[in-house]
Amino acid sequence: MADLPSDVSLGALVTVGIVTVAVTIVVIFLFIRYFERRRLAALTLAVTFAFWDLGAISVFLGSLIHYLRQPIAEGLSQVVRYGFNIGYAFSAISNIFLVIFISQIFAQSPMFRKTYKMVPLANAILNGVTIGLIIDTIIADPLNPAYPLEQTIYHLIMTFVAFLLLLFFSIVSRGRVELRWEKAGFSFIIGSALAGIMIYLMLALDRVVTLFVPGFEEGYTPFLYIGWTFAILMCTLAYAGYVMPTFLRRLFKEEKDLG
């Protein structure tokens, strides 16, 4: 079976760099919003994106160091593999905080009334499994940790669960609001969640194609670039949906609201 590529492409490095900058901008805005409002849900969301940002930073730094040191001589550590593994671990932590955020905002739902905090707790434990799998992978081969397809698929499923919860509740809430800008806010969040799902679907497809399709053994299939492009889209929509800057709110406000 093919493994992760031993050389990092400049295109992938630049794409991940752009994603990292985009997420960092969203994180900064979310923390500014938290310090303005001092609400727990705002802090949870900022932490969610901060961990996702740490994931992107890990992949970027891993890729950058690897790129500067390549070709990596046999017996030396393939830093990009650490970047990917640590990145996925941070992404799993981000999933944990995303579901906590959902349970805070949509707490009125019967699901959270009946189960209280069991949903975020169970989700945290299941995402903890991802982190455990990653630790195992690194321990198994500290110099050259792999990223097995099973781990990618498992993390993809956990991300699906988190984003589908967000999607479901956002769609329900969107149907209940009356003002255009509120509808727009939930629409952007729905778009952001869909883009979030697409990121991991594309990254999983990248691994599948790398492992099973002849001619892609070197890695960096188009799915990887599409995945990171969805990440930029997710950040843009998250900024629009969660931060809802004034210009966007004005754009979607009805005339009767402007007065």
């Binding site: 919003r33 849900a41 969301l45 905002i105 707490a107 809430s173 209940r176 509120e182 806010g185 969660y242």
Partner: protein, 139 residues
């Protein structure tokens, strides 16, 4: 702003349970006329929502769900969004009561039904709506 909740069973044509969350108790003499009006509609209403203006600025929203009608009395008129949110609450109450109440049995435990009603309404009152939370925390 919710004052009380009254659950009617259509089969028995009567009030099953009531619960007070504000200052207007459904058992008060002053409320008897309003209760009679609510009951008349609650029993007749086959399905859907009925908005009923009452004396002293009170408003009753009556939700007919299968064999149960849920009447929620508010101290003021409520907007469309709030009606949709309370309709969800009414559905949850009806579902909860349906699990423990048998209209054919004479051995129903009304205290259990009241517990279900109180738990659902109190949870709804404790937790703000997602839209309000989003506006408070982020928007």
């Amino acid at each position: 702003m919710i004052e009380n909740a009254i659950i009617f069973t259509k089969e028995a044509n009567q009030v099953l349970i009531t619960s007070t969350f504000g200052e207007v108790d459904p058992g008060m003499d002053d409320f008897s006329n309003s209760l009679a009006k609510i009951q008349e509609i609650a029993i007749k209403l086959e399905k859907g929502v009925f908005n009923l203006d009452l004396a002293a600025g009170l408003t009753a929203i009556i939700f007919a769900i299968q064999n149960i009608s849920v009447a929620l009395v508010f101290s003021e008129s409520i907007d469309k969004r709030a009606i949709i949110e309370w309709e969800d609450v009414a559905k949850q109450i009806a579902t909860g009561i349906d699990k423990i109440y048998d209209p054919k049995s004479s051995d129903n435990d009304c205290s259990e039904c009241k517990k279900v009603l109180d738990e659902i309404v109190e949870w709804h009152l404790k937790e703000e709506s997602p839209i309000d939370k989003m506006k408070d925390a982020l928007w």
